[in-house]
């Protein structure tokens, strides 16, 4: 069927470019994290809190911002002293390896230890597009409800870490966080889980430690 053939061709081309991105990241010895979530789960707020804390850890960073429209998220990154580039997909529901490759032409990877790629707000489409990252990090907001992992399984299969964000709202929500953690463990036992409030700061030390450990592991290879 034509649709499958075109889809396969798109995926195959994406994998080729992702491999080239991965080689460029390896050469520059940068850790690359692909942040994926629904709209409004707190990816940009997590980045803001991360940018506030990375300098004290001696870690330099760059940000690639992906959005359907606007450069609001890159403005927020810059307001925290971060540097990066904005990609607008038009109507596209995910970043592609080629979009990241194009962005790399506008970034000096030698100025970074970690590159954060904030994907388009979407819990489905980004899961099947490799960008050349070292790890996918999926965010879930507690306000999204505790039934999401099994309803959107693909991204959890692909992620190395799940950040359960907005735990400051737990007193105001019907939400069983242990159930969410159990479902993630069933879908992907290798996916670590952190409980975080990017807005209030809870758990941010664990997130920073996770980044530092992944960076050290990559550079020790």
């Amino acid at each position: 069927m034509a649709k499958v053939t075109v889809q396969e061709r798109i995926q195959s081309e994406n994998e080729r470019v992702a491999a080239a991105n991965r080689a460029a990241f390896a050469k520059a010895r940068v850790l690359v994290l692909n942040l994926v979530s629904s709209p409004g789960s707190g990816k940009t707020t997590l980045l803001e809190g991360t940018l506030d804390r990375l300098p004290a850890a001696g870690i330099r960073s760059l940000v690639i911002e992906g959005d359907v429209s606007t450069d609001r998220d890159l403005e927020r990154v810059r307001a925290r002293g971060g540097e990066g580039v904005q990609i607008n997909t038009g109507g596209g529901c995910h970043l592609s390896a080629q979009m990241v490759a194009d962005a790399l032409g506008r970034l000096d990877l030698r100025a970074a230890d970690v590159v954060f790629i904030e994907n388009v707000g979407n819990l489905i489409c980004p899961s099947t597009y490799d960008l050349g990252e070292d790890a996918k990090v999926v965010l879930l907001s507690t306000a999204e409800g505790d039934d999401k992992p099994m309803k959107y399984p693909a991204v959890f299969h692909e992620s190395s870490l799940a950040v359960l964000n907005k735990i400051d709202l737990l007193p105001h929500l019907p939400y069983d966080i242990a159930k969410v953690e159990r479902e993630i463990a069933v879908l992907n036992p290798r996916c670590e889980v952190l409980r975080v409030s990017a807005l209030k700061g809870d758990g941010m030390d664990l997130w920073l430690s996770w980044i530092a450990a992944r960076l050290a592991a990559k550079r020790s290879k």
Copy 2:
């Protein structure tokens, strides 16, 4: 380019089937609402509260549930006495007119005044797929942040109503609801806006009135 041609062919075929759905809905004199939002904005909770209230208004309903995976949402609908069918898209990020056409074979439209179609949790993909509905209703959860309309403009262009859900969380969030309403008005002046807490019940009377008015308008034609 092959990709565009295939995409155009998919859209054209979708429009043909959507028109057939619309004719079937018109013949049955049912109002059809296509509910669209990010994962976890509260579409199913809104339906639960709606199913609790519709009988008192003398309005009969059916539900078509769209999800990537699981039939959890249909189970919730049935627990409230609702009837309907579940569509699982596999990895697909939106319902198509054909999926709805297939579902119609399992529904008796004569038993309904209103059909609710709960689309896949996704703020991007469903906006460009007509299912044959009378109106798209977009939900936004306050917990998603007040910057969403401009970042995801397409669905607001297409929607007749925006439900700002989870207003019970407003005391606990940095959220400017008037800003959200202004942005929606800029994107689509004809899009009405309701402030709702589907969980707590606030604004549900306005939502029920909106449904009843749309139903009466359709039947007066």
